[in-house]
Symmetry: C2
Subunit: 318 residues, 2 copies
């Protein structure tokens, strides 16, 4: 008789658990050495707190407490940490460096094979703006993965505002833009082009909306999208070069992240040994202001089990 666990959740047995504990310990040690202090936030938050961070952040597992308040399981660590910073560090002027290791919960599509419960480890850098903050976060993630034994990981680097700006410049309304952003987020470039043409766009505006999402590669792709996004990405790249990790970067101008709080620089972490992103992050300069004093911020989270799979595949020499 087998007693099932909910879809998208799983048991972890001792051999795997030993490796996951070692991996988490290694990542934590790197974050700790870099001055990122670990915090814990409750797995349960008031739904309205998560929704204040992002409308879709409480779309997962919701329940009522004994007073009828709606609670939700955290779907990421960043929104709860933004709440924590507003509650506990509102008057702290210096940059804050925080890290976390915690499970997050998402209601994913059935059959997608995606986890509903997944262990995340990550960092949040509060109070350091622009390219400088992004470069510190990206370089530390690269270092943490190297320390954990990964050798081939890459950073896909993009700008969360780039495509939104192109849409605004082309005169596309926010309402019309939404399904296009959905297609882009799903990497459905064929569907994206169909939707662009349905809007009746022509000329250079149409061409840019179709071409930019496919732009991937070295610094040369930045020349094809002049403007603030390219300047920002160029600055991040220079700072990463100073930190000796620029060779890890692949510019990916079609990159979008799923949670809506990102502003400016965004990135994902890849490993050629596996087909999925190991994690990602970006700047979220407007999130803190939804809970307390406005502060620039940048963060990154890694899916520990995915990093573990990449570790194994690299060791196998796949």
């Amino acid at each position: 008789m087998i007693h099932p666990v909910p879809p998208g959740t799983r048991d972890v047995l001792p051999d795997e658990m030993r490796e996951l504990r070692a991996l988490s310990g290694s990542l934590h040690a790197t974050f700790d050495r870099a001055g990122f202090g670990e915090v814990w936030t409750p797995a349960l938050e008031y739904e309205e707190v998560l929704r204040r961070g992002d409308e879709r952040a409480a779309a997962g597992f919701r329940l009522f407490d004994d007073r009828g308040h709606v609670l939700a399981l955290r779907s990421d660590a960043t929104i709860p940490i933004a709440r924590l910073v507003a509650n506990r560090y509102a008057t702290e002027p210096a940059p804050l460096r925080l890290c976390y290791f915690a499970h997050a919960y998402r209601a994913v599509e059935r059959g997608s094979g995606q986890a509903r419960e997944f262990l995340q480890g990550g960092i949040e850098l509060i109070g350091v703006g622009g390219a400088e903050g992004a470069a510190e976060v990206i370089a530390l993630i690269v270092e943490a993965l190297s320390e954990a034994g990964l050798n081939r990981h890459r950073i896909g680097l993009g700008d969360g505002m780039l495509y939104r700006t192109l849409l605004a410049n082309a005169g596309v309304s926010d309402e019309d833009a939404q399904p296009l952003l959905e297609s882009l987020w799903r990497r459905d470039l064929v569907g994206l082009e169909v939707r662009i043409d349905r809007l009746g766009l022509t000329g250079s505006a149409r061409d840019a909306l179709v071409a930019v999402p496919a732009l991937r590669g070295g610094r040369e792709v930045l020349a094809k999208v002049p403007g603030p996004a390219a300047e920002n990405l160029s600055a991040v790249h220079e700072l990463l070069a100073e930190r000796g990790v620029a060779d890890r970067v692949i510019f990916d101008l079609g990159l979008l992240r799923d949670l809506g709080y990102y502003t400016g620089t965004i990135f994902e972490v890849y490993d050629p040994a596996v087909a999925f992103a190991l994690g990602g992050g970006g700047r979220y300069d407007e999130l803190l202001g939804r809970f307390g004093p406005s502060r620039p911020a940048c963060g990154a989270g890694l899916d520990i089990q995915r990093v573990h799979v990449a570790q194994i595949e690299e060791e196998r020499g796949t």
Copy 2:
């Protein structure tokens, strides 16, 4: 503007988190050296799985998944591990030694000051019966706390069947017994005596039901309750003496644990520096059989944050 967290949950900031991580790491290292392999089970289980372990285990936080199944947040680690053992180790004949570090969730009374989300670390010893299994578990808990720097911890040792047997011998029906067991579990000995008298009991049966819950102390208290429970506790004590930890034991014949799956030996962990139990456990010889092949078992869980408070208080010399 303060954004509240749900009652009974809390944020943990870096200074405390660093100590909690060190404490968990120390406990884990002791469990690991003793051959207890760490497992992880999902925080969400099907309600019917938890209820199979104990009727009240799913009384806490419940929610629906997208197919209308009722899920619940685990309220302890033992029932999910019993499920895991049935699913993954059903044909494993040798004793299994497992440990865990995970948060559990309980709907507690408002204003009780108790945590709704609490971090537990513990062990489960499957397939070693009787006093031998209980002594191994108790001795390892004592050792783990000593390794973590606690010096004054004590084990309150009782038998989960003792009072139930006294009630049955006195002819008290299961229905009438329930409120008495509730009073005993709450350590409400005055209320217990009132309820006993309401049942119209007299003579030695009444006297035993009133007197036994107050019996605490050294081996001498066992002489006052001859029978299988006293023989069992005496055997556990002898095995703990062989392991050099018998001086930690205080017999507590009124001890009851809150979850209904315990059979035989039960215990709680105390520290004179703090007023609350740091954890506890006991034999649960009938739990595995509710999920798969019947096997004797014994386990113990520690509330990591309470152990941390005791650590601090001991260091302060309180």
